[in-house]
Point group: C2
Chain length 364, copies 2
């Protein structure tokens, strides 16, 4: 099959709101298509198909199993509540479906390892749904960070992920329910902060992680808000640190600031860019104070990066490209994506452990 003709046929199991974003992404991506949608009821699946403008053009099923049993489904996008991930992800992999799994990937790394082992032993690709990693801005920032002459050593990274929610969300949303998304804000928002820190540090795991006692939980024990710190090394030559803050209790923010010996980068919309067509970040390099320190010699430079497809479509495209490589050319699955997810989950586990231990440092 010619590369230009390949289309990865997706099944979506679970009609979460975010699945509509992914359905749109699949429609925008040349090498992927939405083939089937499964929900716990057929009516819900049909409602979803109508919502995304695909009534009659997409198969609808009244169960997840039917999607996974459809031999025409090549890959599954799985946006179910986190507590259901391990079961359905393992079933999907065992049915030889490539797996695009919404974050947080699992309740802990042990669960994720079961998922990853199922993908490995069945030869299917695994990727989590961290869309921002696929934005060309992210690559542009990484190019600058990797150029030691520009950036120097990365000494400090800071990230937030906070989201304005209404009282109804705090009462009823899946993400604050201990039986559905027990990781709460840590899983939903902290995942991004942790991912950003690891991304900036080239996925070098921190030496230790420590949550702060400002952590807030709801009466059911689900984390609503937290600050945590990371550090790497303790020798004067290699030490560095990072801080993260994630919360359902603060106004929407998604800050990423990276401080190097020669430059700094700031992006305050790193998870979801303000607009789809392009995204920016501020680069400051060579800044000094003016004579008498009454100003600076320059303001940060705004670097804008065009984006032909939305970042979620680029994610789907990359996932489909790898899947095609496996099917058409016999390639091995790409180990990079499971490794990124696993390290993110490991650090997430450590933050949770620190909270559970009463805000003690947790070594990694």
């Amino acid at each position: 099959m010619a590369e230009s003709e390949f289309q990865l046929r997706f099944g979506i199991i679970g009609c979460a709101r975010i699945a509509r974003k992914l359905a749109r992404a699949m429609s925008l991506t040349p090498n992927a298509t939405l083939y089937a949608v499964g929900s716990r009821s057929l009516a819900k699946a049909e409602e979803f198909a109508a919502l995304v403008g695909l009534s009659g053009a997409v198969k609808t099923y009244g169960s997840y199993d039917q999607v996974l049993d459809d031999p025409c489904v090549d890959a599954v996008y799985l946006p179910l509540p986190t507590s259901l991930h391990v079961h359905w992800a393992v079933v999907a992999a065992s049915k030889k479906k490539h797996l695009l799994l919404e974050k947080p990937t699992a309740l802990d790394a042990a669960e994720l390892d079961r998922i990853l082992e199922a993908c490995r032993s069945n030869g299917v690709q695994f990727m989590d749904g961290s869309m921002w990693l696929h934005h060309p801005r992210t690559r542009k920032m990484k190019d600058l960070l990797s150029d030691e002459r520009v950036f120097g050593q990365i000494n400090y990274v800071y990230s937030t992920s906070t989201m304005t929610v209404n009282p109804e969300f705090l009462q009823n949303n899946i993400r604050v329910k201990p039986d559905l998304d027990a990781l709460g804000a840590l899983g939903d928002l902290g995942w991004y902060c942790i991912g950003a820190i690891l991304w900036a540090k080239n996925y070098e795991l921190p030496t230790a992680v420590e949550a702060l006692p400002d952590t807030t939980k709801n009466p059911a024990g689900v984390i609503l808000s937290c600050t945590a710190t990371f550090h790497w090394g303790i020798s004067s030559n290699t030490s560095s640190a990072a801080t993260i803050h994630f919360s359902f209790l603060s106004h929407t923010s998604m800050d990423l600031a990276i401080s190097g010996s020669n430059a700094t980068i700031h992006a305050n919309d790193f998870i979801i860019p303000y607009e789809e067509g392009s995204a920016g970040f501020e680069l400051s390099c060579g800044a000094k104070f003016a004579e008498l320190h009454i100003g600076w010699n320059m303001e940060p430079k705004v670097v804008r990066v065009e984006c032909e497809l939305p970042q979620e479509a680029l994610m789907v495209q990359e996932f489909a490209r790898i899947a095609q490589g496996i099917r058409t050319y016999g390639h091995q699955p790409d180990g990079k994506w499971p490794e990124i997810s696993r390290k993110t989950q490991l650090v997430l586990d450590a933050v949770k452990k620190s909270i559970d231990l009463g805000f003690k440092p947790v070594q990694l």
Copy 2:
């Protein structure tokens, strides 16, 4: 004396580079004037007078004592190395000179208390040299922070103060010498971060402070770089946190980010604005994600604040205004400024103690 005619006559003791900035500020400020300069040698004092364009127009002395003994000197600006502060500040106060003391105010709060007691018992005004507190942008941000309908509860504050320095600085600058500025980057840069956090939190002292093991010292034991965390309260209703990072080892930055339940504020030049004439900050309020979370409903608003005088001139002006109130109208010294300095120094001491204890939490 009419208010418009009053001029506070400053003596400067010590010809540090920053004193040139203050000399300029005094020349720009209607109610203050630079009257005398003292250095350890008369030649140095004369060189300084020439540098600031006041040869022959300012008294020059070859000792600090001569400045303090001059009955025409109303107030002293003291930019000496920190280890010399307590001695000369106490002498200045005992000679009834109002005291504008460069930061960090002292090596620890015990020393600062001796200075403050000397000012109190001699009826003179004390203020530290934190210029940014006097910028109208700072007041504009505070107005927004204080309006609970706009900002809601302040949940998280983040601040950095990092500065590109050259290898010569790291070898020879006063600020890395244990006998001169033993607090190193903590005193020079961390002072601002701590001050910003306290300012944002209305000077409510944190419950606990903890430094991170990324702390770097030079071979003489002077702090070059550090990350530290603060938190307030442990109940779910009032808990909040802050993180700071200060360093001589990273590219210049001065970030202040404040996260509230209803809004966020960002300023990345909060200590020294990029330019003198005006300064900006980003306010985000009411931001939500667009349908399908493919963007935001708005970008942050840039709020610009004009500044008729440089912030250091506004500081001098405010200091002179208070001094005039004391002299002309018999007012008491303004207790707000010593309190701000003392709380900043207390938290600074706690960060240092946490480092000294091996990065343990320190209660306040």
